[in-house]
């Protein structure tokens, strides 16, 4: 499903060169729920951005769903993001001047869906996150947890194969974080592959698979076995 081989990412700013990812290797299978942890500045967001086609990489091979991602045109990348990938951000990134329904509708419009199709999917997605009754509310009228659920609805509405989340619970208190996590687990059970960056070891432990990025490399990872997550809490704690 996702396959990265020897990915390097170098940021060049005036004088400094930052190697955000070094010979980064990772395979993610369809249907997995991967939690990514690691120290600050280790390259987690960089990995997620490259995985989600939000930025390019310096060299290496990346295949997503069989498609070679190097040298894709800007329009093609936009289309893949739109169709195959759903994003969830730490800061929710809802558009403040649009109501909930309009927010969820944004990627569907770029997809070119008909009006009735959009309406159906918006309603369905908002109901799935438990906000079906508040379609006309503005984001500012909701709590952080509710806003993140709207963002999840926006990511789900296009029925992506892939859900990428960068610290989706980073701005939420633990109760709301748990709700969001439960929602993500439901989505994963329904078949969507999820990669989630988190600083919260408790949440990371709930994922099927944990990987740790240290200094731009996959340092350690734990594969689940027989559907039962095998927790390696020492590793996770060592990070935080």
């Amino acid at each position: 499903m996702l396959s990265m081989k020897n990915i390097n990412k170098v940021f060049k700013t005036d004088l400094v060169e930052t190697h955000a990812l070094r010979d980064f290797n990772l395979e993610v299978k369809e249907g997995e729920f991967v939690a990514v942890t690691g120290p600050s500045g280790s390259g987690k967001t960089t990995f997620l951005n490259i995985a989600g086609l939000l930025e390019g990489f310096t060299n290496g091979d990346y295949f997503l769903d069989g498609v070679n991602i190097s040298n894709l045109s800007d329009n093609k990348s936009a289309a893949i993001r739109n169709e195959k990938i759903g994003f969830i951000f730490q800061g929710f990134n809802l558009i403040p001047d649009l109501n909930l329904a309009e927010n969820v509708e944004v990627p569907l419009r770029y997809r070119g869906f008909s009006r009735s199709e959009r309406d159906k999917r918006v309603k369905q997605a908002l109901e799935q996150v438990g906000l079906g009754a508040r379609m006309k509310h503005l984001p500012a009228q909701l709590s952080g947890g509710q806003q993140q659920r709207v963002a999840i609805a926006r990511a789900l509405a296009g029925e992506p194969r892939f859900l990428l989340a960068d610290e989706p619970t980073g701005n939420l208190d633990s109760m709301m974080a748990r709700q969001v996590m439960e929602l993500l687990e439901d989505i994963n059970k329904a078949g969507t592959t999820i990669i989630m960056v988190t600083h919260d070891p408790e949440l990371a432990r709930r994922a099927q698979r944990n990987i740790q990025i240290v200094d731009g490399q996959v340092c350690d990872f734990t594969m689940y076995q027989g559907g039962q997550p095998q927790l390696v809490s020492d590793n996770v704690q060592a990070v935080s």
């Binding site: 289309a79 993001r81 951000f89 730490q90 800061g91 558009i95 001047d97 944004v106 990627p107 770029y110």
Partner: protein
Amino acid sequence: MLQIKPILSMLLRSKSSPLLLLLQIILSVAIVANASFIIHERLALMDRDSGVVEQEVFDFTMYSFDPSVDLVQQQHKDLQLIRDLPGVKSATFSSMTPLSGGGWSSSFTIGTSEEDERSAPNSAMYYGDEQMVDTLGVKLIEGRNLRPEEILPTFTDSGVKGIVSKAFADQAFPDESAVGKVIYNGNLGEEAIEIIGVVERLQGAWVNSDNLEYSVIIGVELTNAFMRYLVRAEEGTFTRLKEQIPEVLHKDQKNRVIQNFTTLTEHRTSVYRDHELMASVLSLMVVLLLLITSLGLTGMVMFNIERRTKQIGTRRALGATKRDVVSLFLVENYIICLVGGVVGGLLAIALGQQLMQHYDLPQLEWQYPLATIVGLVIVTTLAVVFPATKAAKISPAIATRSV
């Protein structure tokens, strides 16, 4: 794809900035539409043909202060001397100069008896000799020119012959030929002028008058101490002739002041100076207003891009192409411009109505607000596309990098 509905709701929910711009656009459209209409009107006025070969004609004045001179004889000699100069095509004394802003005019009486007596329109009166038609270069379209022997020494009650402009002929004698008709410079029966010819076009001296096109050439000699002469000469000879004419005339009789050599082109420039000034000032205003509006648009787009950097990155992350981002800003501003344009267009018409009532302007034509809106759409596109293209370059990675 166009996204009018969500952009509209975004606009409606955002606070003051689009409102101020909207107000600016409304006023700009109202003013620009009326200003360009007035400019067009003025230019059309200035563009009217006087009927005269202006590039070849000039005039000058002569003041004879020696009472012992026989003015009649002297004038005949003077005209002969002028006509003999190289480059001169023809010359005549004249009571006035076209487009000069000053001259003689009269309302003529028409009719055969008191029952059918009426007034002809107020017209310019060109006293001149048989060379007047050639000197002005006006085109005779009916009848004939004056003959030398028909130029009478004074205005008598009969025998005076004249030539009228077609505009005059059509107005005074709508259904019949003017040739052979008689007009009276005064009451019925007094100072009769028999029309012997019609010229296609000859304007008077007052360009703001409604009667500019009505002119009558009268075959009567003028021999005053103060005289005006019209000369038609080959192009390029004016600078030489304005030295030569006083020279030869003074050699013959030196007791007079000969001055004010002015080409008809110069007369035209000065008589239309106000119009010209008005047109330039208004044009400047139109350009400035369009500039200010486009700067306002560019400013607002740049402000919005600044404010919405994260939103643009998020939209890109969610699948917006660069074109989608550009069209987001274009559509947003087209909506503002369209609303501003329509309201401004209506305001323009209302403003035009006021101007029409108070300043004697014709009614604003609907094409002008429409053209202004079209111009506004072009200005908007230019003003928005540049910053919006920069906005499209915002990396989708902004979505995860900024909090």
